[in-house]
């Protein structure tokens, strides 16, 4: 598993909407390398006959009937919002000047 270079980290940071300094890129790059190495180790141990899994327990088709259950009150819903206006969540400008 090749180590992540600064550009890889910068790309990930952009996708995550994080602004990182060069020092931070190096710092997180090293940490991500450790995680990738650990995952690579698991991949080595797993033989071809072991299918990738996302669940520890083999359960399928867990569903619920199409029946309405009570929702939160709007006061509760908006109580956790950093800002609200007109019964809705208020968020800062989405596009930067340069994106416009």
């Amino acid at each position: 598993m090749p180590a992540l270079d600064r550009d890889d980290v910068a790309h990930l940071a952009r996708l995550s909407r994080l602004q990182l300094t060069d020092a931070e890129r190096d710092h997180y790059g090293e940490q991500l390398d450790v995680i990738l190495a650990a995952v690579a180790r698991v991949a080595e141990v797993a033989a071809d006959d072991v299918p990738p899994t996302t669940h520890a327990v083999p359960v399928v088709n867990v569903t619920r009937p199409d029946v309405v259950v009570p929702c939160l009150s709007r006061e509760d819903v908006l109580s956790g919002a950093p800002a609200a206006e007109d019964d809705r969540f208020r968020v800062p400008r989405i596009l930067d000047e340069e994106e416009q």
């Binding site: 619920r64 199409d66 819903v77 809705r88 989405i94």
Partner: protein, 507 residues
Amino acid sequence: MTTPSSDVLMSFEDAIATFDPVMGLEVHVELNTLTKMFCGCPTEFGAAPNTQVCPVCLGLPGALPVVNQKAVESAIRIGLALGCSIAPWSRFARKNYFYPDMPKDFQTSQYDEPIAFNGALDIVVETDDGPQSITLGIERAHMEEDTGKISHLGGATGRIHGADYSLIDYNRAGVPLIEIVTKPIEVEPALAPAVARAYVTELRELIVALGVSDAHMHQGSMRVDANLSLKPRGRAEFGTRTETKNVNSIRSVERAVRFEIQRQAVVLSSGGTIVQETRHFHENDGSTTSGRVKEEAEDYRYFPEPDLTPVAPDEAWVESLRATLPESPLLRRARIREEWGLSEHEMQSLINAGALDLVEQTVALGADPADARKWWTGEIARISNERGLDVAVLPITPADVHRIIVLTSDGALNDKLARQVIEGVLAGEGGPDEVVASRGLAVVSDDGALLEAIDAALAAQPDVADKIRDGKVQAAGAIVGAVMKATAGKADAARVRELILRRVSGA
């Protein structure tokens, strides 16, 4: 940002003389389940903002999603109706992106394991040589969830560009969606826009026939993204594509495809390159403008959703759902047309009036197809237009219309009275018989009463009576009119005419 008018276009004819268009159509259908895809919040359209949300669809910590059984069944039924294979094992995935329309910062979707794949849909396109049948390949149909509704404020246009801030209503976040994706569509270049339109039309009919969505494009419960690329004639590999979003009517699908063909043709023939991007469709002038540069699939960092179990429908379940499929709309139209002996044009006006189902149900009750069509596409369609409502939502049923037809053919009502009965039924005055009774609308069938009115009319217009006696039978029309007026339209005109002639001839 590009303004709509700045695009120079090549004429459509020139564009298709040089390039072959390749289309890919992605249609999102909002299911009509009572609850959301992964939680029990209601999905009712038009509720007050943020009143249909809970910890699951708000993505609050610790909340766990559970799949809506009905949504899975609808997805499988759509897949089967499109001739797809149903995956015996399919999973949900997280599509990660940062945009505030999803409070979770990801959309739960399906990625490499869609519930349905590899199908086909037959469509019919009008060409100069008459209708042509074309089979389009379906790549996949997968389950996902809708996003919240964002309003951009502070800017002049209400659009994201120039806005100061945005407000979000999460009622729609989590509503079940099925995304249906075609295989690349390569047809005779001149037909491409019409094929796109015919596909969306046919798919919509199918979805409505399945009863899984109301598929209202203007309300956003069915939305189309049109991918389009051009390749110089003779080249095998596809060109770079754009994805036009925001196409909100069937007519717009055709316009958007046509515009992109003309726009891309200019760029390519002047030596430019097409940027892979999303483009926004503008209803007012039929143009598209540049949106964001499209992220690569890997940028979404899809991974299997650990909070949901795989969907693994067994064969018995799939077959039980297959048994619920309706007749394909295409075959049904052909069958009905033949059974009722309709021309292509008559069939089309029946469909355009939104009355096919209603007429079929009325015929099933025993009415003659011609009579049923006459009332549903005539008086009732007229009233529905007047009120700006679909015929299907008017408070009159096929049983009501059947009863009106029976009363008319029995001679108890004439057409004029029948129209008043329809008016009464729509006004909530009860069924046809009740309206006839309460408004006193029955045809005057008592010859004695009619003869009284005829005698009065003949006496009032002796010159007309003389003309009739002289053999000018058409003059009787004036007397018929007078009698109809005297009986407030409640007489059977044919019977009145018969009685007049008999009276005048002294019989």
